[in-house]
Every structure is written in C-alpha cells, then in structure tokens.
Amino acid sequence: MDENMNDKITINVCMGTGGMAAGGTEVLDSFEAALKAQNITAELHKGCTAHKVGCRGLCAKDVLVDVVVNGNKTTYQYIKPEMVQKIVDEHIVGGNPVADFLVGEDYHNFHKKQVKVVLSDCGNIDPEDIDSYISAGGYKALEKVFTSMSADDVISEIKKSGLRGRGGAGFPTGVKWEACKKTSADQKYIICNADEGDPGAFMDRSVIEGNPHAVIEGMVIGAYSFGASKGYVYIRAEYPLAVERLRKALIDAKTRGFLGENIFNKGFKFDIKVKLGAGAFVCGEETALIASIEGQRGMPRAKPPFPVFQGLWGKPTVINNVETLANITFIINKGADWFSSYGTEKSKGTKVFALTGKVKNTGLIEVPMGITLREIIYDIGGGIENDMAFKAVQTGGPSGGCLTEDMLDLHVDYESLAKAGSIVGSGGMIVLDENDCMVNVAKYFLNFTQSESCGKCVPCRIGTKRLLEILTRITEGKGKEGDIELLEKLSVDIKSASLCGLGQTAPNPVLSTIKHFRHEYEAHIKEKRCPAKVCSSLLTYSILEDACKGCGACMRACPAGAITGEKKKPHSINADVCIRCGACFDVCKFKSVKKE
C-alpha cells in the first residue's frame, strides 16, 4: 500500500460559509457517493479521498473544487452536484480534466499578486482534522518555543518582526506582550478578539473557519511568553460554523496535549474557553469586551489603566485579534527577518482584506503591506462589476473613510491610509461605483454606529443621533442651507469628546464623504436631486412609452397599484400613488421604466 500512498488523489471542496451557501455540502456528498459507487480506490489502485477545506478567497465563484493528482492541482469553479459525475469519469478515472468547468484566467489573476501567509493553509487543509494541520507543519512552532526558546526570546522575536495588531489600531504586538510580562500578578489572561463586528468584513471568520488551530497555537505561544494560564476566544454568535470548528479544534488540541495541564512536559498550564458574543458592535473595544466576558453590559471605560495592566477581573490581560495571532506561528517558524521582508518601513508583513462591493472578484485576499489600491481593485479584484465607473473605496468600515480615484496609487499601510483620511481598520474594503450615493453611504454607517452606540457618554449617544437625523433629512429632500457645515462642526465635537473608539471614529464616514463628495451633498440639499439615483424620496418613476411592450409585469409587481394600462399597450405610473419602491424598475425586462 505504501507505494500507492504517493499516488494519491485528493479532492478539496471549499466549505467556508460562502462555499456552503453555494451548495458545498451537496457537492462533497456527490463526490463521496460517486467515488464509492465506482469503487475508484480499487479500480485505480490509488488512495482517493474527498474532503472539506476552508475558504480560499474567491467566494464569488463557489463552489470551488480542487482535484489533486500526484501533486498537480486542477481547480474547477461553479461546481454543482450534477457536474460531479463528469469530473469523476473524465478526470479522475480518465485522466483528462474537464475543460468546460475549469477556472478562468481571472481566478489565476486573483491569486497572482497575493502573498498568502495567514491564509496559506486555508483551502488546503481540513479545518476539522487536527492531523491535517499537523502534517502541514502545524504545532511545530509551539514545539520550537517549548524546546528551544525562553519567554524573552519569543517576545524579542515578535518585537523584531514588527508585527502590529491587525484589529485596527495597529499597536505593536511584541510591545504589548512585553508590557504584560513585566507586570507581576498571580493570574494573567490572553483574549482572542473574534468579535468581528464591522459590517463588510469577514477576515476573522474565514481564518477560524479555515484554520482554527493556527489561532490556538498563536494563543498558547503568547500565553507562554507572558505567563497567562487562561485564555478566552470572544467570538460572535452570528458565526455558527466558525464557533463549531473552533470548539472541535480546542477539544482535539487538548486531547493531543497542546492545551491543558502540562504542555510538552514543561509544567506549563494553559487552557482556552470560548465566549459567545451576544451581538454588540461596541464589544470589539477592549474594555467593553472585558465587561462582556465578565457578564455585564458591554460598556467601555476610560483608559488608562490599559488592560495589559488591569484587564479581565482586574488582572493583566492581553487582547489580540484573530489575524494577529494567526501570524505568530509563521514568525516563530520562519523568523522575524523573513516576516519583515514583506511590507513597508513601518507596516510589516501581509494583511488580509475582505474585498467586496462592486468589484468582479469579490472575496478574501491577502496582500503584502504597501501594495497599491489600484493593484488590489483592478488586478486582484478584476475591475468594476458590469464595467461601471469606479467612484470610491471605503476602508475600515464604520470607523473609516472613503478613498477616491486620485488616491488609487496610494500604498496601503497604516500610516498612508491614516494620512489620506481613512484607516486600515480590521480590513473591510468595499468598492463603490457610480450607482452609489455617498450621502446614503454615510447615512448607512451612521445608522449603524448610532444604533450600536452603548449610550454611556453623551457626545456619542446624542451626537450620532443628531448626525443621523440631519443625514436622513438630506436624503429625504428636506435638507437645509447650512446642514453641511453643521455636520462638519458636530462631527469634530463628537470625535474629540467621545469616550471610546466607537464615538471617536463614528463621524469619519461623514467627514470623508463631505470632503470628497461635497457636490453630492449640495445636489441633495439645493437641487433636491440624488445624482446616483439611490435616495428614493428624490426619485420619480415613469414609463417610456416607446420601449414598453405592455407585458404587465410591472403592474403585477407594483405593491401600491399605481400602474395601469391595457395589455400590449404602453402602461403608465400614477405618481401620486407611487411609493417609489422600485419594484417595477427591477422587473422590467425591456428597460422601459425610467428612474430620475
């Protein structure tokens, strides 16, 4: 059997949340059934297995399937269960890949400029199988730390690598660990912050779904370096698949002795618990997160004292983001110099971004710090969907800002994005095209921050409410002269007077859209017009008589009964009855509904 092991066929089916939504489970089942039905293993005298892997990024083309024959990988896209038999017959048995199903050039372009460190194993290993992780070199870093490195060695290596927190603020990780080590206490904690609340970001979810052990390994190494004996992963309850895989990984790691009473027989004791977040964005803030783990309302407190000195239950606590922790094993294995060979002067390594919105290739990407926005959007992302015009890219979620066309050649790192009025943040990157209204986008974010404001401090609680009210009235055509100036003044006050990061950054989307798209605000206020045709109160719908075939589709779709007309004759919309829902515009096949 040994010689056959070299001659192995492996089938990897992408089963992140995206892959499963596209039918990954059914595809995997079909492969297993087809392989079993024909008894392929016996027929080919080769080991042939199908298994699930985490997200490899390009979720837009799910379900993605790899067929690996003797190390040669062939990738298929948009696979449905009914296509499986053909792949088994022609490729696995016949030896000829099915050309029609293969991924196209854009799949390869999507990967060309990426540098995968944190994501290198996602999509190759089975996240629910610890042996799969170990055979890919997993827990080697932990072994190295426990057999040949002192706590100080670990900290100095991390410091030397220049790794900075990937949760948004970019604080140097090694410095944080060192500060915790120097604080003496009978009990210390490490918390992995997986409360990824930014709308439009899913890096942490994908890392945990695709490679949960890497995060666990990073946590154990951290705990060893500054002497923590207990760890928590604070993860959103909205990520059921990630929670399930993480829980399984923790049990497996404990069974193998990577967690528990006496790790690597060095007398070091460490265990990790999962805490489910209960759905509050503000809990991504360190002190609010601590309050939440303690069972209280997740409200932030003033800093200092910082959590590394006084954190969970008043004890020194290090809080690191998922992606930060997933970087640790690579730094230990390959060295700080290798890590810092990527990136710019002050931002080292790679960063995972969730590239979404109006680009062709939406998905999860990992790029070296310092890459330009143009490379991300046009080379990796494949350009704007439906060949519309690029308008802006929004980074950093509700705490960030918009970057416009003239900034596309900006090198992405912590400093340069901050200088341009946005932030790297946790890594959400949403591309907007000419059909997006910037006032509406600002209103969207304010709606979010306003409802997520914890209410503890007045500037944030009342300030965001007032900002939202003004934005709402502008989008409804009731904007007043002076509203823009009022927004600006209020924003500055909220930023300077709020207690925590939520309030201090909440006005950023408003300020940056005013800065770059003041004319859109003015069009809404002065001309009562929405240039991107998004704000429904400012739109009117009518039917172009020449184009209308009188099919009646719009009439049936109209919930208000505002459309009348005889069959096969042009219909018309009664503007007084119309509720401007856009249902007719969506259903018309002849583009005869006009929106203006």
Partner: protein, 170 residues
Amino acid sequence: MLFLKITLKKEKLMEKVLQRLANDFREHEGNVISLLQETQEALGYIPEEAVYYFSRELDIPASRFFGVATFYAQFYLKPRGKNIITACCGTACHVKGSDRIISSLKRELKLTVENNTTEDKQFTLEQVACVGACSIAPVVIVNKKVYGKMTSDKTMKEIKALGFNKAESE
C-alpha cells in the same frame, strides 16, 4: 379544562428548566450573560417570569438582567416565529440592495416596525449587521441556512416553500 392542564404542564416544565439553570449559575462562575443565553437556548426567548424567578433565587436585582438583555441584540423578550428569516444589512449587502429585499418582505408578510413576527407566529423577520459572507451579497438566512446573491423573489420562494400562503394571511 384541557387548556388549563396544558398550561400547568408547560409551567412545570419551565420551572424545571429555570431551576437547573439557576443551580448551574451557583455552581459555576456565575455569568449573567451565559445564564440568559442558556435560558434563551432552552425556551426560545427570555420570558419576564424567568427574569423575576432568577432575581428571587439568586438575589440579583431584576434590573441587571433586563439591563443585559436589552443591551445585546441577541436577546429576545418576546417569543419569535417558528421560522426565522434573517436579512443581512452589512455594507456589502446594503450597496447590493438588501434594503429592497427587506421592504418587500415586510410588505408581503405584513410586518411593521414594532411587530416583526407574522400574526400566525410562523415567520419572524430579523436584521443582522453583517454575517460575514459579503462576497455573496446580498445574503438572507432562512432557518440558519445561508442563501447568497438573493433577490426579493428568490426569498419569497423560500418562504412560500415553508408554507407561507399569501391568500390565507389576508
């Protein structure tokens, strides 16, 4: 009579569950959030009586429970429908038209701002800030199954497959 019996049986069952949870709370580290999460897991929502029960048993003011329960989006103080439809309102879903899906669902299911459950308690429409599946936006989750690249029509099809009948509800 039968109705009364059923109610009594239900109450007994609930008390048993609450008793167990209160004991767990005393034995372990005692965390209000976990207690409420477990209560909701067992009963589907957090009934007012449960809070007063815990308050008496554990000597914790009821305001602390309500404080926590109303702070976090995860907790429900009212029973939810049999089928849960969750529309994602993340940024990517927003720019790809989640608003339109939500307003058409509200219209079809006859839901209002105050009442997000249909009268027959069959369907509840909820919104979530982001489920982290932005690359397949807009996303709708129907009874924990994630559907990507959704439209109002496709969502209604799923809802009808679960037994929603427009004529009946009218």
